[in-house]
Every structure is written in structure tokens, then in C-alpha cells.
């Protein structure tokens, strides 16, 4: 299920910390609810994003959903694989389907997020 080393938001995004760089993506629950992902719109690297603010859009055949960043800071990298081949978000939401990397403005933001067990409980 959802990896235990990640943090989760109630908007169904996840964070993987590497030093002070937060890798961000959507959860299995999110991609399964969306269905086949056919379009991902992400900002340019270098853009600032606030915690829980909209940073992009993800679209399935039928629906459009906003993407909300679980952490705030400067976006240092965006995943071209996700915009070029959106199906990677369905295939490997916790791996090659990651979306953005954020240089964390303030590590205490992570306290606002859930661990995998707490996140799992919100889905039931």
C-alpha cells in the first residue's frame, strides 16, 4: 500500500524527503479515483509555491483536478516524464510518476502532514 517512509496530505499528495528537498506526487488512491491520467500541467522550475496551494492540474479522460503542494518552497525540478507521458502517474505514482521537487522553506511544515497509517485511515 502507501509507502511508510512518505508523508501524506488530505488532498491525496505525498512527500518524500531527501535532505531539504521534498519530492511530491499523488497517491495510489488519487490516481485510481482519477482513472487514466492523460494530461499533467506543472509550473516551471524556479517557481515558488506555498504549502497547500495549487501548483498544477491533472486530467483524466473525464475530469480535471487541481494539484495542491503538500509543502511550500521553491520548485527546483519538475518531472518531464509526467508531462510527456502522463500514464506514468497511473503506473508508478510513488516512483517515476513523481511530479515536482520542492526546496523546503521550513521543515516544521512536515508536522502538518500525515504518516501512512493515518492517511490510510482517512480513506476508510
Amino acid at each position: 500500500m502507501d509507502p511508510e517512509d512518505l508523508k501524506y496530505s488530505k488532498e491525496h499528495e505525498w512527500v518524500r524527503m531527501n535532505g531539504n528537498i521534498a519530492e511530491v506526487g499523488v497517491t495510489v488512491f488519487a490516481q485510481e479515483s482519477l482513472g487514466d491520467v492523460v494530461f499533467v500541467d506543472l509550473p516551471e522550475a524556479g517557481t515558488d509555491v506555498a504549502q497547500f496551494a495549487k501548483f498544477g492540474e491533472i486530467e483524466s479522460v473525464k475530469a480535471v483536478s487541481d494539484l495542491f503542494s503538500p509543502v511550500g518552497g521553491k520548485i527546483v525540478e519538475v518531472n518531464a516524464a509526467a508531462t510527456d507521458s502522463p500514464e506514468v502517474v497511473n503506473e508508478e505514482p510513488y516512483g517515476t510518476g513523481w511530479l515536482i521537487k520542492v526546496e523546503l522553506a521550513d521543515a516544521s511544515q512536515l508536522d502538518e502532514l500525515m504518516d501512512s497509517a493515518t492517511y490510510q485511515a482517512t480513506l476508510e
Partner: protein, 375 residues
């Protein structure tokens, strides 16, 4: 993600439990609880229908039988089909229009006998259609009307292998029914009415059987290799095929001529309610036209988005030239496609337009429909 569940009691087709057992994602549609997709997803279903065959539960669509010497005249009063010219065993796409020529619904009408007809209407419009039809029934005579929606099931099988599959199950009876015709056959031991029509741009049949035979037929078709397909793929398939959806591309605010379907708007029946209006509209140049367009920039068009003139530096209210009525990502053409109404002078094929995708201007170009044509 928004929760669109409603408080109203949703109707269930006789195949409802079959869909649930197949792990379909169920959604409310037109008052019914219907499968929007099965486990493999919309794109896999689209591919199955384009390359092999898919099956769709279309039992929610309204089915009405009319019989008697007065049936042809009665139906001519509110359908835009030339019924005296419709031969036995043939079907015709047509419209139910109001006195102003506005489209209440689009429908298929079939002549199943000298004095008998089958009318198939949209599920979501069934109540509105009946509010329109019932007072007319009360004023007419010489026929009986029977609503058979609940006592029958209807399954569409669509795709390049569809006819072959039905032929195998019917001792080759089915393929003798040609395109846009209707006939009877025994399919896997089940007596069925087969219309060689559909809503996907593929060859195939819409098969009507007794309600208690619906599940058996569904399982036989699935075992024969047809892939279970839901409303999600059906909506993409119909858009790829350039087929309009009432409620999106057609409404009482639009008429058949500006929608580009004037050839299905026969108005010369002497008792036609919409006849005078449709005749007048047919003789007037309309201010707008329903067009198909393909995205040339990055973005997916969606119903309700504004269409702007292409040479405008900013997208604002002053350069709106129309609106998107249907849009999606098409896996078959690999890009964003849509339909919408634009002012007549922007409707020519090749015209460049801009779609306002939630504040982001994205380039598109008007193209001929269908977006997909079977080979």
C-alpha cells in the same frame, strides 16, 4: 475531487449486479446508476472497441413501441423523420423538436412492421420527452403506445469484430441485417431484435432482448471476446465519431440546422409541430455553427470553456466567438478534441481558434468531423 452523489433514488438496469460483480465504477447518469468504466479503464475500453469489440449496457435508454394504423401519422407529428418513406426494417436518426425548432431530444426511429415502430430516446430526457409526447397521445387515435424500457434489456456490441461475434452466435443470421436496419435473430438461443446501429463510429448492433435474458446475453458476449465498456469510453468514442450528445451539443436552445444535422430534419409532414419553424430555419442563414476542433497547443478542451478569436493578444470577453459543448482527450487521435458552437464566419475548416482552458489560452484549429473514421 467532488462528490456528485445525489439523494434521489437511482434506477438500476437488469445488468446492474453484473456490472458491480465486474468491479465497474458506478455513477449516476440520467437518473440511473450506470457503469462509467470497468477495471481496465477507459483507454483500454476505447482501444477494445476500435480494434476488437466492446459491449455497453444501454438498457437505460427509453424504448417505446407504437402500433396501429394511426402510428405513422402520430409519430410524424413530433419526429423529424420522413416516416412514409421509411421502409419496413429500416431506422432513421431524427429529432424531437419544439414549435420553435429547438431540440428536445435526438432519437432513433425504426419501422418494425407495416404499422409498427420502435422509438429509442435518451435516458436523461425520457421524462421530458414523455411530458411532450403524452398530451399528444391523448389527442390522437388509431394506435397503441407501449413503453418497453423496463421489460427489455438493450446491449450494444460495437467494434470491427462485433458482427462476426454475433454471426457466430446466431448461425449467420445477423450479418444479413445491413447498416441502419433492424431485424430479428436468435442469438445464443435468445430471441432478439437487432438494430445495426450504434454510437461509437464502429459497425455493430444494438440488441434488445427480454429483461430476464439480459444477463445471459451480456455474459455470452463477454465470453465471446467482447470487452465490457462503460459510459466513459462511450462518450469519447461518440465524440471521436463526430456524433452529438443531447444536453451538451444539442438542446432546446439549438436547432438541427446550426448543429449541422439539417439532413435529419424533415419538416414537410403536414401535421408536424415543428415543421413551420424548421422550414423557416432551413431557409435562413444561421448566426453560428457546430464545429469540430483539434487542439494544436497543450491542453484538453472541456464543455463550458470559451472559444476566442485566434488573433487576439489577450483572451477577454470582447473576443469570445463561441463555446465548447463537448471535449476530451482522444487516445485514438492522440490529442485534445472537441465540438462547439462558433460564429458562422469562424466556422470554416482550418480556422485557428483559442480555447480558454481555465485562464490559459491554448491554440486549436477547426477540422472536419468525424475525428475518426473506421477503415
Amino acid at each position: 475531487m467532488s462528490d456528485e452523489s445525489q439523494e434521489q433514488i437511482l434506477k438500476k438496469t437488469v445488468l446492474h449486479s453484473t456490472h458491480v460483480e465486474s468491479n465497474a465504477k458506478m455513477v449516476p447518469f440520467g437518473g440511473w446508476d450506470m457503469p462509467v468504466q470497468y477495471a481496465d479503464g477507459i483507454i483500454a475500453e476505447i482501444s477494445a472497441v476500435r480494434n476488437v469489440a466492446g459491449i455497453f449496457d444501454v438498457s437505460h435508454m427509453g424504448r417505446l413501441e407504437f402500433e396501429g394504423e394511426g402510428a405513422e401519422s402520430f409519430l410524424s407529428s413530433f419526429l423529424s423523420a420522413n416516416l412514409p418513406a421509411l421502409k419496413i426494417g429500416r431506422g432513421k436518426y431524427n429529432f424531437i423538436c419544439n414549435e420553435d425548432g429547438g431540440i428536445i431530444d435526438d432519437a432513433m426511429v425504426y419501422r418494425t412492421g407495416d404499422q409498427s415502430f420502435l422509438l429509442v430516446i435518451n435516458a436523461g430526457n425520457a421524462d421530458i420527452d414523455m411530458e411532450w409526447i403524452n398530451p399528444l397521445v391523448a389527442k390522437s387515435k388509431g394506435f397503441t403506445m407501449k413503453i418497453v424500457t423496463n421489460e427489455t434489456a438493450m446491449i450494444a456490441i460495437q467494434g470491427p469484430k462485433a458482427v462476426e461475434i454475433i454471426d457466430t452466435l446466431s448461425n449467420d443470421e445477423a450479418s444479413s441485417i445491413r447498416r441502419f436496419r433492424i431485424g430479428s435473430a436468435t442469438v445464443a438461443g435468445i430471441s432478439a431484435t437487432l438494430a445495426r446501429t450504434g454510437y461509437t463510429g464502429e459497425d455493430g448492433f444494438e440488441i434488445i432482448v427480454a429483461a430476464d435474458q439480459g444477463e445471459k446475453l451480456w455474459n455470452v458476449l463477454r465470453d465471446a471476446g467482447a470487452i465490457e465498456s462503460g459510459l466513459g469510453s462511450r462518450d469519447v468514442l461518440r465524440l471521436e465519431a463526430g456524433l452529438p450528445l443531447h444536453g451538451n451539443d444539442l438542446s432546446t436552445e439549438t436547432n438541427p440546422f446550426e448543429a449541422g444535422f439539417g439532413r435529419f430534419a424533415y419538416f414537410e409532414a403536414p401535421n408536424s409541430i415543428a415543421g413551420a419553424a424548421l422550414k423557416r430555419i432551413s431557409e435562413t442563414e444561421s448566426g453560428r455553427a457546430l464545429v469540430g476542433f483539434k487542439m494544436t497547443g497543450r491542453g484538453i478542451p472541456r464543455s463550458g470553456l470559451n472559444i476566442h478569436e485566434s488573433n487576439s493578444s489577450n483572451i477577454d470577453e470582447s473576443n469570445i466567438i463561441g463555446g465548447v459543448t463537448s471535449g476530451t482527450h482522444s487516445p485514438t487521435v492522440d490529442g485534445g478534441i472537441g465540438m462547439g458552437y462558433v460564429e458562422q464566419k469562424y466556422s470554416a475548416t482550418g480556422t485557428k481558434i483559442i480555447i480558454d482552458v481555465r485562464g490559459r489560452p491554448v491554440e486549436a484549429e477547426i477540422v472536419d468531423m468525424p475525428f475518426y473514421k473506421r477503415s
